[in-house]
Symmetry: C2
Subunit: 282 residues, 2 copies
C-alpha cells in the first residue's frame, strides 16, 4: 500500500517512511499524538508531526540517555525522569537493581496511555514498583525539590512547544538544586547539522554550562532523527564522564545492550570539529 | 520551485531533497551521471540514482578516508586512489607535503569531466603535479603492481554495478601485494542499519580480514547516506589504527579539518554493539 508518512527535516529535506497502517491519532491538551505501524521501522510514535521514536532504533536513544550516566556512578539510587512518556528511558533504568526510586514527571498523560496500549516495547516497565509517575509540568516539579536525586534525565521533546521550559536556565538551576552531591543530569540536546537546529544546541549548552561545573556533549547515530547525528548533554556537579568513568564496574553488571558499550562510552564524547566549534562559541 | 530528488534508502524509506536546478544529466558507458543544485546541500552528485556526495557534507567522507590512515603513518609517500572521480579524496591527500605521488585509477572518465566542470569544490586539486590519473578498471590496475604504495584508498561506489570488483577477495589480495612493508588500505564499507546493506558489510569485512593481518572498521556520521551511519574499512600489514596512532605528529602538521580530529580518530573505532556483532560473525 502506498501510504507514506513524511517528516520535513528542514523546509528543503524530507524523510518518508512507508506505513502499513495508522494505529492511533488523537489530540491531547498539549499536542497531536500519532502511532503508525511501518514496514521498515516497526511502530512509530509521532508528536506534532515529529518522529519521537521507532521500534527499530529507539534502543539507541534510550541506552545512550541512561547507560552513559549510570556507568559514571554506580551509586545512583534515586532518579528523576522528565518527559519520557513512551517509557523507554524507564525501561533501561529498571534494569539496574541498585536503583531504588524512579520518579517520572510527564506533562501529557495521554502520551503515556497511548504508549501503554500501542508501544509495549518501550512502555513495558512503567508498572515497576519503583516507578512513580507524576502528570505535571517538569519545570514546576523541580522547583520544589532539593538535594534529592542522584540522576535527572530530561527526555523531552524539542525546545519549542510543550518541552520549551525544559531548556531554560531557570530549569537547569532548579535541577542543580534538586541533585545530590554527585548528581548528574543528561538530556537530549538536538543536532548541529542543519542550521535551523544549531542555535538550539548552542543556547542549551551555554545555559547548562552556566549552571553546572561539568557540562559536556556526547553523540549517537539515530537514523530516524534529522541528519541522523544526535547530541546529548551530560552535566554534573563533579563527575567527569570520561576521567571518572570506571568501565569494569559497569561491565560486571552483565547488562546486554545493543548500542552502548564501554569503549563507545569514551568514543561518544569525541565530537567532530564542526560540533566542537558550535559548543566552544556557545 | 517544487522539484524534488528522491533516493530510496530501502523499498520503504525515502530521502528527498529540494532541487534548485538540474545542472547535468548524461549516461556514460558505465553509469547514469547527474548533478543537481539543491537548497540545503549545495551541489549534489548522483550516480545511478544514488547520492555520491553533496557540497554540504562531502568533507566528512573525504576527511575520514584520508586523515585516519595518514595520521597512522607519517612516512606515507606514494598513494594509490581507486575510484574517487569527484576529486575529494585527492584534494585531502594534496594537503600533505610529504606525499610525493598520487596515482588515481578511475574507470569512468566522464565522471571526472563532469566533476571538473560542476564540482570544483572537490575536483580542485586534480591538476596537482603529483597526481596521475589512469582511466581504467582498478581491479586490473592492481594486478600488475608490487610493493609500490604506502597507502591505497578504495573510494568506490557500492558493491554492485561498476564498483563490484573492488569488493572481491582477489582485489584485496592484489592490494596487499601492491602495498609496501607498512602499507595501509582504507575503503568505504557501507552500513549495517538497513538489512539490505548488512550482508555487504559482513562479506567485505570477511574478505579483508582473510587477506590483511589488521582489519578494522570505523564509523562516521554522513547525513546524506542511507541511515546516516557510515562505515569505513582500515586494513594494514602491521599498523594498528589506535595503538600505533601518534596524535602529536599529525597535530604538528597544522591541518585544519571540519570533521576529523585526533580525539575522534580513536573514538571512531568504538562501534555500537549491533555493528560489532555483524563484524564478529562475518
Amino acid at each position: 500500500m502506498a501510504l507514506w508518512f513524511t517528516e520535513q527535516h528542514t523546509d528543503d529535506v524530507r524523510f518518508s517512511i512507508h506505513i502499513k497502517e495508522q494505529l492511533y491519532s488523537g489530540k491531547s491538551y498539549y499536542q497531536q499524538i500519532e502511532v503508525f505501524d511501518s514496514y521498515e521501522f516497526g511502530r512509530v510514535l509521532v508528536l506534532d508531526g515529529y518522529i519521537m521514536l521507532t521500534e527499530k532504533d529507539e534502543y539507541i536513544y534510550h541506552e545512550m540517555m541512561v547507560h552513559v550516566p549510570m556507568a559514571c556512578n554506580p551509586d545512583i539510587r534515586r532518579v528523576l525522569v522528565i518527559g519520557a512518556g513512551d517509557g523507554g528511558t524507564v525501561r533501561e533504568l529498571c534494569r539496574y537493581d541498585s536503583i531504588t526510586q524512579i520518579d517520572m514527571v510527564e506533562i501529557d498523560e495521554q502520551v503515556v496511555k497511548v504508549c501503554k496500549e500501542y508501544l509495549p516495547q518501550t512502555a513495558c516497565r512503567l508498572e515497576d514498583p519503583r516507578v512513580h509517575i507524576y502528570y505535571e509540568d517538569g519545570l514546576k516539579f523541580v522547583r520544589r525539590v532539593e538535594d534529592t536525586y542522584d540522576l535527572i534525565i530530561v527526555d523531552s521533546t524539542d525546545p519549542f512547544g510543550p518541552g520549551e521550559g525544559l531548556f531554560t536556565k531557570e530549569f537547569y538551576g532548579n535541577c542543580f538544586t534538586a541533585l545530590r552531591e554527585h548528581g548528574i543530569l543528561t538530556n537530549q540536546h538536538e543536532s548541529t547539522y542543519y542550521d535551523s537546529y544549531t542555535s538550539m544546541v548552542s543556547r542549551t549548552h551555554r545555559r547548562m554550562r552556566s549552571v553546572f561545573p561539568v557540562a559536556m556533549v556526547y553523540q549517537a547515530h539515530i537514523p530516524t532523527y534529522p541528519s541522523g547525528h544526535w547530541l546529548f548533554g551530560f552535566a554534573s556537579k563533579n563527575i567527569h564522564p570520561v576521567y571518572d568513568f570506571k568501565p569494569e564496574i559497569w561491565e560486571q553488571l552483565g547488562l546486554e545492550t545493543k548500542y552502548y558499550n564501554t569503549q563507545l562510552h569514551t568514543g561518544c564524547f569525541a565530537l567532530p570539529n564542526t560540533v566542537r566549534e558550535v559548543l566552544e562559541h556557545a
